[in-house]
Symmetry: C2
Subunit: 128 residues, 2 copies
Amino acid sequence: MTANSHPHSEPGCRAVSEVLSRVGDKWTVLIVKSLQAADEDGRRFNDLKRDIGGISQQMLTRTLRSLERDGMVARTVHPTVPPQVEYRLTDLGNSLAVPVMALADWTFENMELIHANRSAYDELANAA
Amino acid sequence: MTANSHPHSEPGCRAVSEVLSRVGDKWTVLIVKSLQAADEDGRRFNDLKRDIGGISQQMLTRTLRSLERDGMVARTVHPTVPPQVEYRLTDLGNSLAVPVMALADWTFENMELIHANRSAYDELANAA
DNA sequence: CGGCATCCCGCCGGATACTG
DNA sequence: CAGTATCCGGCGGGATGCCG
């Protein structure tokens, strides 16, 4: 940790917030999870698209590019006809998956409670 | 866990993604961290605003409302003149803070690497 | 097959002004 | 002090079409 100050400093928290935005992006978790399941083999573009379901080509491309830029995902092009492109998680991507999945587990465990809280809150709002 | 299927199922992952969007929101982490520092005492609206810095009243209000709706934050109004409103994390909010801070630590540890990756990526893009 | 370019709409989020 | 209301620019993200 050679960066300035500690993880809970003001600027540090900003940076955390920024990366969390990437992780918290609508599609990132789904993509990371799909790539994690594929493991070493990697996964091709349209396989990824099918596996995730409901994502547009554009958003899949955009999100993969962002992840690639951050070094989370490796992109390998096989110059065949038709072209083949494989995506797989890098070591960095795999290490990210650990805390992300921990958060995912927390979410899953508390999901019902959260939804119940929302319902209760909305009901009170409607009563007024 | 009485919800359908396991944490890594398709619909489960969707739900996770949804809640991660709340957590990954631009301001949520900063707010949660500030409230966590205040602990039992809670924190008042403008104190929160000052402590975070750079957030507009509107977004502070909006984000606090969302967190309150999800049951992460408790809002207490003291009917004095001028009015006082205290915000503090609920048990749910505090339990969320655990995996979130783990993710924050990961981010902090890998921040330099990520930025280096971005620079390298952008440089290659410019070369073309 | 695996993209990139374009159009378009909705909401995120900032700035400002007003209220109890 | 702690909001709500309004305006508005920007971008997230879907649909479609074209290309190597």
